[in-house]
């Protein structure tokens, strides 16, 4: 259960000054054209993400969560609107600039893990650390997710939860400024899901990485600094948790 919302805010904006925003997106729309049908995946989204934040994005299926996350991570570009990361303007960025942005600043965790099946856990992590500037040791990253003893296993030899933890290690190992996770627990059972969430929380706490998680599971919202609710391609509301709950206390 999310804690009750504090009294109606006096100011429309969240408290910290805009200067501290790491991500700043404004008026972002995304329209997919399929033949003569237009799908408005995002219809004018404004959102700021701040340093060290843990954000949970909630919303029904098809509300545009993945689309938003992809745009934040530089995997996709908006149809209109502005996307800023610190002093980079991602709106106007070309493919090469987006690639560099992802390479230097972003870590992704996907719902279906997307590990390279022909590489071991260690190699999957190394794949990313090799092209990063100040990476962790890949083995250390795997120890961080409690997989220190499974370094040389191939994805096919790991359970779903273990694979997802490898994916997190892979995303974390490059020490990104921001970690974007699209339904990281979607395919996992209760305990494994919590294990994965604990890892994410630890990274956020210890390394100070901005973590944004998409989920269908409202219970997870409790561990966030802020909860963004999406519906029909718009931000329906943003809620700040006064007191964060540690993942181990979450239950659903």
């Amino acid at each position: 259960m999310p804690p009750p919302q504090p009294a109606a805010p006096r100011t429309p904006d969240p408290p910290p000054p805009p200067a501290a925003a790491v991500f700043h997106i404004q008026g972002v729309t995304k329209v997919y054209r399929m033949g003569d049908v237009q799908v408005h995946a995002l219809r004018g989204v404004d959102l700021d993400l701040y340093a060290g934040e843990f954000v949970v994005v909630l919303g029904p299926s098809g509300s545009g969560k993945s689309t938003l996350l992809n745009i934040l991570g530089g995997l996709d570009v908006p149809t209109s609107g502005e996307v800023h990361y610190l002093d980079h303007n991602l709106t106007a960025a070309g493919d090469a600039a987006l690639t560099r942005f992802r390479r230097e600043h972003v870590g992704f965790v996907f719902q279906f893990y997307n590990l390279i099946p022909s590489l071991t856990a260690l190699e999957n992590v190394a794949l990313v650390t090799e092209i990063a500037e100040h990476p962790m040791d890949p083995a250390a990253a795997l120890r961080l997710v409690d997989l220190g003893d499974r370094l040389n296993h191939f994805p096919a030899q790991l359970s779903g939860g273990e694979q997802q933890r490898v994916a997190i290690a892979r995303a974390v190992a490059k020490r990104p400024e921001v970690l974007l996770c699209d339904e990281p627990t979607g395919a996992l059972d209760y305990t494994t899901g919590k294990l994965v969430l604990e890892v994410l929380e630890r990274v956020n706490r210890e390394v100070g990485t901005i973590v944004a998680i998409i989920t269908h599971n409202a219970a997870i919202a409790g561990m966030a600094d802020r909860v963004v609710r999406m519906s029909s391609g718009m931000v329906a509301g943003i809620q700040r948790n006064v007191k964060k709950i540690s993942p181990s206390e979450l239950s659903w």
Partner: protein, 787 residues
């Protein structure tokens, strides 16, 4: 090693079967290229070196007799660099160990060795010594065919008298790289050879003291060959000149040049076919790989791998196959080339024929391989690069299917659900199916066209030597003789039939085109030598006028009804106007025919003959041969069966080798295409097949579904392959329409059957290899995977 490289290696291992198939096809393509090109360059270089180092002439002519003093006048012709006058005579030889008489072409050489045109390369022994009457050098081909060596001797009729000749040396001349009796197509080195002996001996023996009857001329740089030839013809006209000609009409030069041209054409067509198939296979392979690895591409992109890095990663996969194929191809090519050179050594006699390999050749091979790989890889790799990362994260959308053509035209009821799956799958990847089928068809076509050469030569021999030339023995007289000699010949024991012929050297002219040729006068009721028409029916020679064969008519641009100018190069050398009455159509050589008595009338001569065709009793032939050997008036005897046997021996062997290679190549293509097709199908439809297994289908049933597709493609390829093979054969027969011989267009049913069989065997083999994988299919693993 970077993680990406590890992925590369594991992908390579995973796809080793398919990559191996591509590598094999590529290796074949590169091997054919290297073989043909390096053989081409080797022959060309050997020819060039030989001709320049041993001063091969540019213009040649033969005449009746001219005083040596005329040499100065020849030298004075503008454009003439050097002149070599010679005495040249064909004589009958008695070679130890040979029943039949052989023909020796005696060519005079200076008594003391001095540089000359058409100079000799002395392989063994020594040059003749002055004053030693019976010393000769003999050609290497003749020596080895008859196992003659330095110190051996043989007998020859020199102007009516038998003389013993002592072999002091074995020699080669650029004039006889291809050593063949004039007017024949197939070399018979046992029964025809070249002998060189001192001019001081040869001259007097044939009444040529201070005279010559053969000239070789070299031209100054930039001189006009045409000009020199016409000046020479004028100058030598009074001396019975048979017409001067350039290298183009020199038999040895012509054969070698034709062979080079053949190598050049084959050397570009065959590799091109192979490399197109490589490009196709690589394209299918990589497209499929990029398709299955969409998610992986997306992850790499999400984590910031650049397009360049990702593109390179997939390109490297192709590169490994290409590198391996290229190296194997170059190695195999060099090995094959060295064997091909050995085969060439049997036909073409050089002082040295070395395999000529240079860096540019190898580099071109590498470039061609890389080019074909890029052609195949580029679109697939571009697709990987162009995948939008957000897009790629989603699994590939399910394929859209629709009822296939067969079903649309209402045959649905005929198809079982399994065959419906096959048909729809083929229909969905229509272009891939078409190309696969075409590639298999091509491999059938390669076998067909390879065997076609054999069919055609078989046919050529049967037409020429069983329909046109039916004589067992041909005798040629030193000088034209009175016709009653034929009765003397008929008296000889073993002679069953004698048909005389008259041969008159002429220059045949129509407008500005002309050609040196011998007009052959035959009896109208001849049975042994009969020109034939295009339907292979014997032609009755008209009472008057000329019959030309189609090729000669084509060269002159003549059609029946045209009046040809015939400049006779013998006797009184009249210039006549004779109508072309009809066309003959034999596959060998150029031919001009006339009725024997009409020819006599035109020449205003009595009943003279140049020689005779004879049918002999095989039982007593050897005795007859030894009698013929002893008749001094006979300068040449040729025995058809012996010539054919020697031809089949060499030709049969080299044909066997080349058929084996073509079959090998075609099997590789068929294997590569079918195997890859089946593997791709397995990868695309592994899930589907596993589900069917889970639903209770047997392994045999799903194997049928998987391989049915390839089977259908292979069956479809057969008629296409036959058609393509026929078209290729047609192209070859056009290409081999030469002065010297023309390949008839016949493809035997056996050839089609053989080609289909070879390709089918290769297809079945590859199908079985893939089917074995179904046995190891892990049902749970396939069903677990997200795809």
């Amino acid at each position: 090693m970077s993680a990406l490289h590890r992925k590369l290696i594991r992908d390579l291992i995973h796809m080793r079967g398919q990559l191996f198939a591509v590598t094999l096809v590529l290796a074949c393509g590169i091997a054919t290229y290297v073989t043909m090109r390096s053989s081409f360059f080797s022959l060309e270089a050997a020819q060039f070196d030989y001709y320049s180092q041993f001063r091969f002439g540019d213009v040649f002519t033969h005449l009746k007799r001219a005083p040596e003093s005329l040499a100065a006048a020849i030298t004075a012709i503008p454009g003439v660099a050097a002149v070599q006058t010679r005495v040249l005579m064909d004589v009958t030889l008695d070679v130890p160990g040979l029943d039949e008489p052989a023909t020796g072409r005696l060519i005079s050489i200076p008594e003391r060795r001095a540089p000359m045109l058409n100079d000799l390369f002395l392989r063994q022994g020594r040059y003749i010594e002055p004053g030693q009457r019976g010393e000769v050098l003999i050609s290497e081909a003749f020596a080895s065919a008859n196992r003659l060596g330095v110190g051996d001797s043989l007998d020859a009729v020199l102007n009516g008298k038998w003389e013993r000749l002592h072999i002091v040396g074995i020699a080669l001349s650029p004039e006889f790289i291809y050593e063949i009796r004039p007017s024949e197509v197939f070399p018979d080195n046992r029964r025809f050879g070249v002998l060189w002996m001192s001019r001081d001996v040869l001259g007097p023996a044939f009444n040529m003291e201070g005279a010559f009857n053969d000239v070789v001329i070299s031209l100054t740089h930039g001189a006009s060959e045409r000009e020199v030839i016409s000046r020479l013809d004028q100058l030598l006209d009074r001396y019975g000149c048979l017409g001067a000609y350039g290298r183009q009409d020199q038999i040895s030069f012509r054969f070698l040049t034709d062979e080079l041209e053949e190598l050049r054409v084959y050397g570009s067509i065959l590799p091109t076919l192979f490399l197109c198939i490589v490009a196709f296979l690589l394209n299918v392979l990589l497209s499929r790989l990029v398709g299955t690895q969409r998610g992986q591409v997306a992850v790499l992109k999400a984590f910031g791998y650049t397009n360049w890095e990702i593109g390179l990663h997939y390109l490297q996969l192709a590169l490994v196959a290409v590198t391996a194929g290229t190296l194997a191809g170059i190695g195999a090519g060099l090995w094959l080339a060295s064997s091909l050179i050995k085969i060439y050594e049997r036909y073409f006699h050089f002082p040295a024929l070395q395999l000529h390999i240079d860096a540019p050749l190898i580099l071109t091979a590498v470039a061609i391989a890389a080019g074909s790989a890029c052609l195949g890889a580029v679109s697939a790799v571009r697709r990987a690069v162009a995948l939008a990362p957000a897009e790629a994260m989603r699994p590939e959308p399910p394929a859209t299917f629709r009822p296939g053509l067969l079903e649309r035209i209402g045959l649905r009821a005929l198809l079982t659900p399994a065959s419906r799956m096959i048909v729809r799958n083929l229909d969905r990847r229509r272009w891939r199916a078409v190309f696969s089928s075409l590639a298999v068809a091509l491999s059938i076509a390669i076998v067909v066209s390879g065997r076609y050469a054999m069919d055609a030569v078989d046919r050529l021999v049967s037409i020429q030597f069983h329909t046109v030339q039916r004589e067992d023995v041909t005798v040629v007289f030193q000088e034209p003789r009175s016709a009653h000699v034929r009765f003397e010949l008929a008296q000889l024991a073993g002679v069953l039939r004698v048909e005389p012929f008259r041969e008159i050297p002429v220059r045949l002219r129509l407008g500005h085109r002309w050609r040196l040729i011998a007009v052959l006068g035959l009896l109208p009721d001849a049975e042994l030598r009969r020109p034939i028409d295009s339907q292979l029916h014997p032609l009755t020679l008209p009472a008057d006028g000329l019959v030309l064969n189609t090729k000669l008519a084509e060269i002159l641009g003549a059609r029946p009804g045209d009046i040809l100018t015939v400049e006779v190069l013998e006797g009184a050398r009249p210039v006549l106007q004779i109508p072309l009455v009809s066309l003959a159509d034999e596959p060998v050589g150029l031919g001009a025919y006339m009725d024997l008595s009409a020819l006599h009338r035109l020449m205003r001569e009595g009943d003279t003959i140049s020689g005779a065709y004879m049918k002999v009793d095989p039982a007593i032939a050897p005795r007859l041969y030894s009698v013929l050997k002893r008749i001094p008036a006979i300068s040449g005897v040729s025995v058809r069966e012996a010539m054919l046997a020697s031809f089949w021996k060499t030709f049969g062997e080299s044909m066997g080798v080349s058929t084996a290679f073509l079959v090998g190549f075609a099997s590789v293509i068929a294997f590569g295409v079918v195997y890859n097709g089946a593997r791709i199908a397995l990868s695309e439809r592994g899930n589907e097949l596993a589900s069917l297994r889970v639903l209770g289908l047997t392994r045999a049933e799903i194997t049928r579904i998987l391989l049915g597709e390839q089977g259908l493609l292979t069956i479809a390829a057969i008629p296409a392959g036959f058609a393509l093979g026929f078209a290729l054969s047609l192209l070859l027969s056009r290409f081999f329409s030469r002065d010297l011989f023309r390949l008839p267009l016949v493809v035997n049913a056996g050839t089609y059957a053989f080609a289909a069989l070879v390709v089918f065997a290769a297809a079945i083999f590859s199908g079985l290899v893939v089917a074995r994988r179904l046995r190891h299919m892990d049902l749970t693993a396939v069903l677990k995977s997200r795809e």
